[in-house]
Subunit: 189 residues, 2 copies
DNA sequence: GTCTATAAACAGATAGAC
DNA sequence: GTCTATCTGTTTATAGAC
């Protein structure tokens, strides 16, 4: 892997583990096995390197999610597969965690890929939900757009609860709970 | 307000705005209008001051939530009132944001109040949901424990989506969506 | 209790040799 | 392209005067 590639990958890891504010150029260089001169030769500075790293992480996440949604199965099966796929729950979401970084949110260029990731994700899930509703797999009264935000929020909030507890249990519960509601366990009354 | 109080309050604000890693003792002192000597006289250091601030924020949040849950009304009304009460959505949750701080999570003393806050919150919501189910207000098949985690996750994830978008819209959608599911809009099929 | 002085280590670069 | 040297400011304190 080229030095430039190693710098980007190291930055991706550190942004995930420690966030933007908590990541120093020095730490990036050490993890990449590159000197200072190298880093400043390939990138203008920390924000520039972070932008490359964030863009790549966002794109990877988008592609990964699309795999689940374009797979065969009912709407509920696809949403379920997406929520329950293998995840590094205790590490949290590499994109979602950036929303807690004041310097990322303050920089339009850095925030844009984060914003875009969630806009697309919510939109794609809304499509799947609308499809399921129209096919009669889901309730006729279901609001696809609002519910899509709910699904993504359960995921992002599940990470928060798991990290607080240092256990995947609350994440699993949150996912189980929303899938139960979607499946209409609330029907019997 | 005493100097000690001002230091704690300034720390609470800064932890909310910038997190633990992003908050320096100097910034705390400046906002509190206190000198370095003052801060180190009242507190052993940054972790000690942060502990006092986090404990207070956690306790305040717990008390605030309890107000909604002990109010009169059906289970759904109380959950709805809790989710829709006035919130500083774009600032996010002052407790939830700490889960993204590697140094807070690494320090058992600092993580404990965060963990405790969500354990209690999930437990209290599970009680309200169980009550609603037993009274026939909610579906008989509803899982109170799992659904309580879902409700809290929607809140925490809603903050994440709102910050990414710099708009309260996705937060409102996520809340609307989960309330619709709880209310059984999924019933008609 | 509060203030100023001092300090070692780190953050985030820039400059120029190789 | 990579390396070392240098630099300004910040971080997180400690020491001691007032």
């Amino acid at each position: 892997m080229s030095t430039s590639e190693r710098l980007i990958e190291s930055t991706r890891e550190l942004l995930w583990e420690r966030g933007y504010v908590g990541t120093s150029p020095k730490a990036i260089q050490q993890r990449a096995g590159a000197g200072q001169g190298s880093m400043y030769h390939h990138f203008a500075g920390k924000p520039d390197l972070a932008l490359a790293a964030i863009r790549r992480t966002a794109e990877e996440m988008r592609a990964r999610a699309e795999e689940q949604f374009s797979a065969p199965g009912t709407a509920l099966e696809r949403i379920s597969a997406y929520l329950q796929r293998e995840r590094d729950v205790l590490k949290g979401c590499p994109v979602g965690r950036l929303t807690q970084d004041p310097e990322v949110m303050a920089d339009e260029a850095l925030r844009a890929p984060v914003d875009d990731t969630f806009i697309r994700l919510r939109g794609r899930i809304a499509e799947v939900l609308a499809e399921g509703r129209d096919r009669g797999e889901l309730a006729a009264g279901l609001d696809p757009v609002a519910t899509a935000s709910t699904v993504v929020a359960v995921l992002q909030g599940g990470y928060v609860l798991a990290r607080a507890a240092q256990s995947t249990e609350p994440f699993q519960q949150a996912v189980t709970g929303v899938l139960g509601l979607l499946a209409g366990h609330a029907t019997a009354r």
